[in-house]
């Protein structure tokens, strides 16, 4: 109480600097985390798109995870004076205090409506996931452990999208983000940021040690960025590999979708799948209709669909890419 009075007094005296502090992102590194997203001072404006505060850097992924056609807005912030260390084959080594922000919005009328904002905060004890759910007026989002599902509906060139968007709960963050039971970021890897963004991160001081040249993944839906196979591999890397890799949630299945480590299960029986429509192999080369991979991507039934969480609709375009790729493989009948 006393402290608070002092602080108020201080602010009163130094009004300018206190106001200025609003212009900086505010970092919280331990419990209790703020109930309101606004406490982090991440944005200067939220009602007509998220306008980032100082040093909150927007970024995009070349081939992102599909999340029910949600628009995703990604930002990264690091404390002044800190910087990430480049790594070629994994997420950058990000300093303590890093905030990764991903906001999800769906079409609404002529614009978009924010549904949720996920933070991954790099604390001294590891990465902490936080889920904030936006209010209708888009002025504030509130911390929740187990958010309620949200019905969404819009129409675009593909027709009417009408489904219930399942916001993952805090535990479900671990489903995708855990490796050997340690929660890690997934997105900001050199290959999926691409050279342009990596150079920009280096320029603004968020990254050191980055070379000019390194391998990039294809952009899954841009033919000029890679062959059919390269685009399919990029898609599988970013939609499947977070679980299907050693140490990941689905490591026990024995398939690996990581770029450069690719072992997707040609003519392989699944280990513990449920009823897959009487299909017998993960992938039958040349035959998408007989491939469990394709069947799972085309389903929204809880035990059939892949990924297991985070989508309630079929990614028609992604499915088509994977179908085409399986079709393109040398035809082979599995034993």
């Amino acid at each position: 109480m006393k402290l608070f009075k002092y602080l108020s007094f201080f602010c009163f005296l130094l009004l300018g600097s206190c106001r200025a502090s609003q212009k900086e992102v505010k970092l919280f590194l331990s419990e209790p985390f703020p109930q309101k997203l606004s406490a982090w001072h991440l944005y200067t404006e939220t009602r007509s798109g998220l306008k980032p505060n100082n040093r909150l850097l927007p970024y995009n992924l070349r081939t992102p995870l599909f999340s029910d056609y949600a628009s995703k807005y990604r930002f990264i912030w690091m404390p002044e004076g800190t910087t990430a260390q480049y790594r070629e084959d994994a997420v950058f080594d990000l300093p303590i205090g890093t905030i990764l922000q991903k906001s999800f919005a769906f079409p609404s009328g002529n614009s978009e409506k924010l549904i949720e904002t996920r933070l991954l905060v790099h604390t001294q004890t590891g990465w902490t996931p936080l889920l904030y759910i936006w209010n209708d007026s888009q002025t504030e989002a509130t911390l929740q452990l187990v958010p309620n599902p949200v019905p969404v509906k819009w129409t675009d060139a593909n027709g009417v999208h009408d489904f219930t968007y399942q916001i993952p709960n805090v535990n479900e963050c671990h489903e995708c983000h855990d490796n050997n039971r340690t929660l890690l970021p997934i997105g900001p890897k050199a290959r999926n940021l691409g050279k342009e963004q990596v150079a920009h991160w280096s320029e603004v001081g968020y990254l050191k040690g980055a070379p000019k040249e390194f391998p990039e993944v294809a952009v899954w839906n841009k033919k000029e960025t890679g062959s059919l196979e390269e685009r399919a591999l990029a898609y599988l890397d970013n939609n499947c590999a977070h679980c299907h890799q050693p140490g990941g949630t689905a490591s026990y299945t024995g398939v690996d979708f990581r770029y450069g480590h690719f072992q997707p299960g040609y003519c392989k029986h699944p280990n513990s799948a449920g009823n897959m429509h009487d299909l017998r192999y993960d992938i039958v080369p040349g035959n998408p209709d007989d491939s469990i991979l394709v069947y799972r991507l085309s389903s929204t039934a809880p035990k059939v669909m892949m990924p297991q969480i985070g989508r309630a609709s079929v990614h028609t375009e992604g499915l088509a890419l994977i179908r085409d790729w399986v079709e393109s493989l040398n035809k082979s009948s599995c034993p």
Binding site: V146, Y252, R280
Partner: protein, 420 residues
């Protein structure tokens, strides 16, 4: 001041976790159990009252040292009928987890999954699909995988389209006094090292229990499994596994115990009776699953896209001691759906033997007649035996079980801290 407020809040919250259930309505529990599982602190005991609680998403726990306790496997029921999201009922990825006295029903996929935990206790848990045997049921009812120091006791599994009680890629395991019925496989011990399976009842499944290794799984080299004092009887429920479950689809209806591609297995003092295809089935991977691995490895596709043969895998069965069992009434009505067994039964006048061995030997073991060290000792005298000489198209079958009369050193008991 801020600090003291935090502490008292935390204390209130912790108290609420253990007491909340007593004061909550079923709707409250349905709404808030997941939150409790997330905000539980290590050491928390979450008590659930009697009642049937409905969930349409997977429940999950990642906090270590949590106990989830109900009032009885038929009294406190977590029902996932009509599940909308998630492929499991309850999914646990935590150490020192105990679940007891809870029923788990009708999950979309597996009932209770415990992945990658050390010191796990599953006690008096019932995991079941209430519509009975059905291809659309989840694969596994009780499904601990990649665990260390695991105890499953006094539990019940019914209706699984693969295995009722499955333990995979784990070490130091005790499964005792459980009941598995109306599953495809009652029990499976897969790619697991050091397991004791005793005092269980396995009945009315397609097969009672499988002890085996499979390729292409991260953990290889399962061994040292003791199966004793179990009742493995009347496992004749027609195989209802969907084709997509792979290996299990080929499990013959009417199998008692099968031991495949593994060494150091001791099977003793069990009652193994009236399993219509075979009571005891000792086989190489090829006999059980077919030639998938070898064929795949040599196919041009494999070479093209480097899905390798699993070089760590060893498909032979060896060092299996079957002794002091009561074995009777097996092979009376073999499953003709399995080509090999159907042909064999036809050649033998319609029935198979109690004990079937494919006789496949690794040349590296030398030329001794029983270089695989399959030992049959002091089982029911009338139990019939056949080595069907799979290597030579059944040219030189051996029906005299006495040729396999030998003993192997007894395997040591599995010791885990929670089963003293």
């Amino acid at each position: 001041m801020a600090n003291s407020r935090q502490v008292s809040l935390a204390a209130t919250l912790a108290a609420a976790l253990t007491l909340a259930a007593c004061k909550q309505t079923p709707a409250d529990i349905e709404k808030h159990l997941q939150e409790h599982l997330i905000s539980a602190k290590p050491g928390a005991v979450i008590e659930l009252p009697e009642g049937k609680f409905h969930f349409d998403r997977t429940l999950s726990l990642t906090v270590d040292k949590v106990t989830l306790r109900g009032k009885g496997m038929d009294k406190t029921v977590l029902s996932f009928a009509g599940q909308k999201e998630g492929a499991q009922g309850l999914l646990v990825k935590a150490n020192d987890f105990t679940i007891e006295d809870i029923g788990i029903e009708d999950s979309a996929g597996d009932g209770l999954t415990v992945q990658g935990g050390t010191n796990i206790i599953i006690r008096r848990v019932r995991a079941e699909w209430t519509r009975g045997a059905n291809a659309n049921n989840g694969p596994y009812a009780i499904y601990p995988v990649e665990c260390k120091n695991l105890l499953v006791e006094d539990s019940v599994a019914r209706g699984a389209a693969d295995a009722g009680i499955y333990v995979g890629q784990s070490e130091n395991v005790v499964l005792r006094r459980n009941r598995a019925e109306y599953n495809v496989d009652g029990f499976e011990v897969e790619n697991t090292e050091n397991a004791d399976v005793y005092d269980n009842i396995m009945t009315h499944n397609t097969g009672g229990i499988g002890v085996f290794n499979l390729p292409n799984l991260p953990r290889q080299g399962g061994k040292h499994v003791r199966v004793y004092n179990n009742q493995i009887v009347d496992n004749n429920t027609p195989n209802f596994a969907p084709k997509s479950l792979g290996a299990i689809y080929n499990l013959p209806t009417g199998t008692g115990i099968y031991v495949m591609a593994i060494k150091d297995v001791e099977i003793f003092k069990n009652k193994i009776a009236n399993n219509n295809t075979v009571n005891v089935f000792l086989i190489h991977f090829k006999t059980g699953i077919g030639d998938a691995v070898e064929t795949t490895a040599s196919s041009p596709i494999t070479q093209q896209i480097f899905a390798p043969q699993d070089k760590r895998y060893y498909g032979f069965v060896q060092q299996v001691s079957v002794h002091d069992n009561e074995i009777s009434g097996g092979g009376k009505s073999p499953d003709s759906r399995i080509t090999l067994l159907g042909a064999m039964a036809k050649a033998m006048g319609g029935s198979l033997t109690d004990i079937l061995y494919d006789g496949l030997l690794d040349p590296a073991w030398g030329k001794a007649e029983n270089s695989g060290q399959i030992c049959l000792q002091n089982n029911t005298a009338s139990a019939t035996f056949l080595n069907f000489d799979a290597a030579n198209n059944m040219k030189h079958p051996i029906t005299d079980g006495k040729k396999y009369s030998c003993t192997l050193p007894a395997l040591s008991a599995v010791s885990i801290p929670q089963a003293k």
